[in-house]
Symmetry: C2
Subunit: 302 residues, 2 copies
């Protein structure tokens, strides 16, 4: 075993739920001495200080990153590129730089475009965690406990950085997986982005009807669970669906084809085929379960 | 207050989860002296006797209904018509006859076709309850506790029967609502049948892909809840989707239009419109909640 992981200073760029929870987790597990943080919102900076998420408020992303041996970019996916560009000159050569974005191909492209000789510092990360309430006020040190964290290293990523990234997520309780960015985006389009999109569309289709409100009053536990992810944060999901457009549209095409099969069987009164289609879905879903310790809460987004 | 409701004999036709739980609930609440039951399966009849669900096994649906002051038809929707036809000659003139089907227009049409002068006995019912495991072995006296029960009386339904139906569901802990059969089917197409259909299609779209199994391993809590209803019973849902075909297809058309809106916004990089669409879904879903005491378990189907 190597020496226990310990960082001198975390530079936190973005003090929302994800970033602030990461800072609290590192502190809880004794992985960092000091946290310097930036948020474009003065109120958020103040609350982050009050809540002990950060020890020092920076006046810019660049200032937050400067002199830190670990830097976390926890900003909306749509702001990743500009943030990377801004902080590159301030990054220490040996630092570990990570993000927490739900899409990875776009982040990797931005990193390749802007990080220059700091590219080896960067380990793109996607922790599969979250909760319904956003913002620094809802941050918690255990947000990443028993959750999956996916790392999508680049060819240029430094071996030390990758090893440290694995260790830090493991130390705060996450289960680390490695994927390449393309596989990551294809996978999460299929199991997360498109399910969100379908839930959004299902709720909108309901609410747009004259009788929508009356219908919704009669909805039961099945609808509750099916539609839970439709309550997700609009700005976050706008960015995800947009950033992962190609894979999302590929998956919706496959979904439409599957829906066509059902509709044809229903309209043709082909009960045998309809039953076979449902049997397939029921068999697959019944034999599926959450992997590796990822149990418990129903409030977590992915 | 009138005298407490009490039946002499329940005729139970179908001893699966729904029917057997109804029999246990009536016994638990002292609403019935004796239960006579029929199932086409000898094993089910035997288990129903062993478990105290029924006191006497009948050799046919007709025999189960004979001489009973309350009769519950708890068979797959596709078998309702033949069962109604079979039992009509055996029904007592003043009995209360109910079903538990998830679709109502088709049941009402079958009743009108076959019940003849026993039509006033019939109160079509749809208890919004269930659980993942089917069959008599999983029956429980509290299945209908704190659940919604919808009654869709016909113009010919007797006032006494309707009142008794309200009382019996209320007595076993359900919250009774009245609807007409057409509104019922339109409502549940929108909030239950189509969400099930979308979940079935989403799971099939995933599993049909070469990488489907790999994708599914990475699915998280969002997918778990979204797809839970895809594990539902194939024969039951084949019948529901088929019986409620017109309303289901109407709702899938509206869903497809809503999905089109999202896809256009994504493909046109219209981030403002995409955000507005998600905001609408998120607002509607966030402000929605299960009505009237219908809380708790996530294992219940509707």
């Amino acid at each position: 075993m190597s020496a226990p992981l310990k960082f001198k200073q975390l530079g936190l760029i973005g003090c929302g739920l994800m970033g602030a929870s990461f800072a609290l987790a590192l502190q809880k597990h004794g992985l960092v001495d000091k946290v310097k943080g930036f948020s474009p919102s003065a109120r958020t900076r103040e609350r982050a200080l009050q809540l002990g998420v950060i020890h020092q408020a920076a006046t810019s992303a660049e200032q937050a990153a400067e002199g830190c041996d670990i830097v976390l970019l926890a900003v909306p996916v749509s702001r990743t590129a500009e943030c990377l560009q801004a902080i590159t000159p301030a990054l220490s050569p040996d630092c570990l730089l990570m993000d927490v974005g739900s899409t990875k191909t776009d982040v990797v492209a931005a990193a390749a475009a802007y990080l220059d000789e700091r590219l080896p510092c960067f380990v793109p990360a996607h922790p599969i965690a979250g909760k319904a309430e956003a913002g620094v006020d809802h941050a918690e040190a255990d947000l990443y406990q028993d959750r999956r964290a996916i790392l999508t290293p680049l060819a240029q990523t430094g071996a030390v950085q990758l090893e440290n990234a694995k260790q830090v997520w493991t130390a705060i309780g996450s289960h680390v997986s490695l994927m390449n960015p393309q596989d990551h985006d294809a996978t999460f389009a299929a199991v997360s982005h498109v399910p969100h999109l379908l839930a959004f569309a299902a709720v909108n289709a309901l609410s747009a009807q004259d009788q929508g409100a009356a219908f919704l009053k009669m909805a039961g536990p099945g609808f509750r669970d099916f539609s839970r992810i439709a309550a997700s944060d609009p700005a976050v999901w706008r960015d995800i669906l947009s950033a992962n457009q190609a894979e999302v549209i590929k998956q919706t095409s496959l979904f439409r084809a599957a829906l066509d099969d059902f509709e044809k069987a229903i309209q043709n009164h082909d009960l045998n085929h309809l039953q076979k289609l449902i049997e397939e879905a029921s068999r697959v879903r019944s034999s599926w379960s959450l992997q590796t310790g990822l149990t418990g809460q129903t409030e977590d987004d992915d």
